[in-house]
């Protein structure tokens, strides 16, 4: 006993300090880019050229944010990323709503009305989570052309719904499979129909998985770049594509503060979601962690 206590007071205390030092050091590593991004975005260009990355701004200014929002050049046009920010919302909102709704119905039908082949159908759909999207890009471009949806917001919504269903179905299927069947069987005996059981029994307990699914889809679609760059025109670009164009535009003086402000603008929506609903974000990650 005596020994144990002495060990605790000497070696263990040092070890404890070391543990905290490593943990805090790593936290600084993860925070560094965010801090630098923020600091740079409120410094005038002269300060950036003269001072170091982590120097606090001497004359903080919001001018880079204003410029990033409404004046900076993204490729051939110079209207800032503001319009593209709203483009992203125009893509994200319908795509998230439709894919989550379909996923909920699929998950429900596949678990509570187990028809023959339900498992096979689920396994085949699940595969959609795993494919590298490069393998669908070219046919998708042709198909969108045939549908008259090339370069349109509706086309991007369609793409995100089609490849989001696999994930939302996975979420809801795994959630509903854990809900006892007795309630549903009893309601069936009472003559309640498919939609009535969904509405009255499953939906009231589904809030957590809806949150998980909405957050996951929101983050995935907001952060998408590949589909955005392949299937959109100048007017319908999502903000990630506009940001990339802006940073890689090589005309005139490179305005790092404006770049960083634009990056912050593109990052804010998902960061806000993460801060507000981190728990559900993590759940989605670990449940649907098959996607990059």
């Amino acid at each position: 006993m005596d020994n144990v206590i002495r060990r605790r007071t000497l070696g263990a205390r040092l070890a404890r300090w070391a543990v905290y030092a490593v943990l805090v050091g790593m936290a600084l590593f993860y925070l560094l880019p965010l801090v630098v991004m923020l600091l740079t975005s409120v410094k005038p260009l002269e300060e950036i050229r003269a001072g170091s990355l982590l120097a606090l701004p001497q004359a903080p200014t919001l001018a880079p944010w204003v410029k990033a929002w409404s004046e900076a050049c993204t490729g051939m046009r110079c209207e800032g990323v503001g319009g593209y920010f709203w483009n992203s919302f125009r893509i994200v909102i319908p795509a998230v709503a439709i894919s989550t709704f379909l996923g909920a119905l699929n998950g429900y039908a596949l678990t509570k009305w187990r028809f023959r082949g339900a498992d096979l159908i689920f396994a085949l759909m699940l595969f959609g989570c795993f494919i590298p999207f490069q393998v669908v890009l070219l046919p998708m471009a042709r198909t969108l052309g045939w549908l008259g949806l090339s370069n349109s917001t509706a086309g991007l919504v369609l793409v995100h719904v089609v490849f989001g269903i696999a994930f939302t179905t996975l979420f809801f299927r795994n959630f509903y499979v854990a809900i006892p069947n007795e309630l549903v069987s009893a309601a069936k005996l009472d003559g309640a129909g498919f939609f009535r059981i969904f509405w009255r029994i499953l939906l009231p307990v589904s809030a957590p998985i809806f949150v998980v699914s909405v957050i996951w889809q929101f983050t995935q679609i907001w952060n998408d770049f590949l589909f955005g760059v392949a299937f959109s025109a100048f007017e319908t670009q999502p903000v990630t594509v506009a940001l990339n164009n802006m940073v890689n535009t090589s005309t005139g003086v490179k305005e790092y503060n404006v770049d960083m402000a634009a990056a912050m603008i593109a990052a804010l929506p998902t960061l806000v979601v993460y801060v507000l609903a981190g728990k559900y974000f993590v759940r989605g990650l670990t449940a649907g962690s098959v996607k990059g």
């Binding site: 404890r16 494919i131 952060n223 960083m260």
Partner: protein
């Protein structure tokens, strides 16, 4: 006929056999059908379609005069493809290993009854919420040779400090590793932490009572329990690595030259900007093959695990 008379005999079941009731029986299938049809067409149909394109000599536009596996043969002698594939091995290997080490390390340290654990966890994981484009843009700024980390450290008095990987074609690939690890290692930490929390405390206590030191307990007792976590983390990370596209586009643009090309950027460049649809399709099929080679064993074990659970 006999079914109707049988139904009438049972009474309550009679209602089930009306057309409306029969529709009810089919409703679940009808509800799933559109999504399933969409998956069949947009996933499986498109995979076959891309495969067919890879057998043609399509350039600007898809066309269907078949040349067999000539595009794959071209790929095998294409220097840029080999650079991209080699890069994927370097990038993927380092990315997976470093993420695992950092993730497991952080999780074990966080599991020592740490104060403010929630805050630390939040900090470690937030990069995962960012777009890889944002990550690329920020790291491009941090790694800027004249104004970024290099000049900052020089400003601290280390005049000869050099950190110009971004413009060094031999080192640029490692900037991708750095940024990708920054983005994803917190997520691996979360996976490991969930695994650690799932281990029965009594096992740990028993091992410690037997006189095993803490590192020994972790190495000999805890790590074997976490084998499934390691397994799925490797799957997920290698999957992320194969699909990596956004980060390359934002951080290096595949440069200097094509020194940091990955298969995903190779495919995009050839299919969409260099008018080599046939070659691009072939490279996409090889990417699919790589993903399948990694994921098929994983899927099987997952599905089997679910049935048992």
């Amino acid at each position: 006929m006999s079914t109707t008379s049988l139904a009438r005999g049972v009474g309550t079941n009679a209602a089930r056999r009306t057309p409306a009731a029969r529709l009810q029986d089919w409703l679940p299938r009808l509800v799933v059908a559109p999504s399933f049809a969409v998956s069949l067409f947009f996933v499986y149909g498109f995979m076959i379609w891309t495969f067919i394109l890879s057998l043609t000599n399509s350039r600007m536009l898809p066309q269907y005069d078949f040349v067999g596996f000539a595009q794959y043969a071209r790929l095998m002698v294409n220097e840029r493809w080999w650079v991209a594939s080699t890069n994927l091995v370097i990038f993927g290997g380092l990315f997976v290993v470093i993420c695992l080490v950092i993730g497991a390390g952080l999780a074990i340290l966080l599991d020592q009854r740490i104060r403010q654990e929630g805050v630390l966890r939040t900090v470690y994981l937030y990069p995962m919420a960012l777009s890889l484009i944002v990550t690329g843009v920020v790291w491009k700024w941090l790694l800027n040779p004249s104004l970024g980390i290099e000049s900052m450290v020089r400003g601290w008095g280390f005049e000869s400090f050099q950190f110009d990987w971004l413009v060094d074609s031999d080192m640029a690939i490692y900037t991708l590793v750095l940024a990708a690890v920054w983005q994803a290692s917190g997520f691996v930490m979360a996976l490991f932490l969930a695994g650690l929390r799932g281990i029965d405390d009594n096992i740990l206590k028993a091992a410690q009572l037997d006189g095993a030191s803490l590192p020994r307990v972790y190495w000999r007792v805890v790590m074997p329990c976490l084998r499934p976590v390691v397994f799925s983390a490797v799957m997920i990370l290698s999957h992320i690595a194969i699909k990596s596209f956004d980060l390359v586009m934002a951080l290096t643009g595949g440069g200097p030259g094509y020194a940091t090309d990955l298969p995903a950027t190779f495919m995009y460049a050839h299919a969409f900007t260099r008018a080599q649809i046939g070659l691009g399709s072939a490279s996409a099929m090889l990417m699919l093959g790589a993903v399948l080679a990694i994921l098929v064993p994983y899927l099987f074990s997952e599905l089997r695990g679910r049935k048992h659970g």
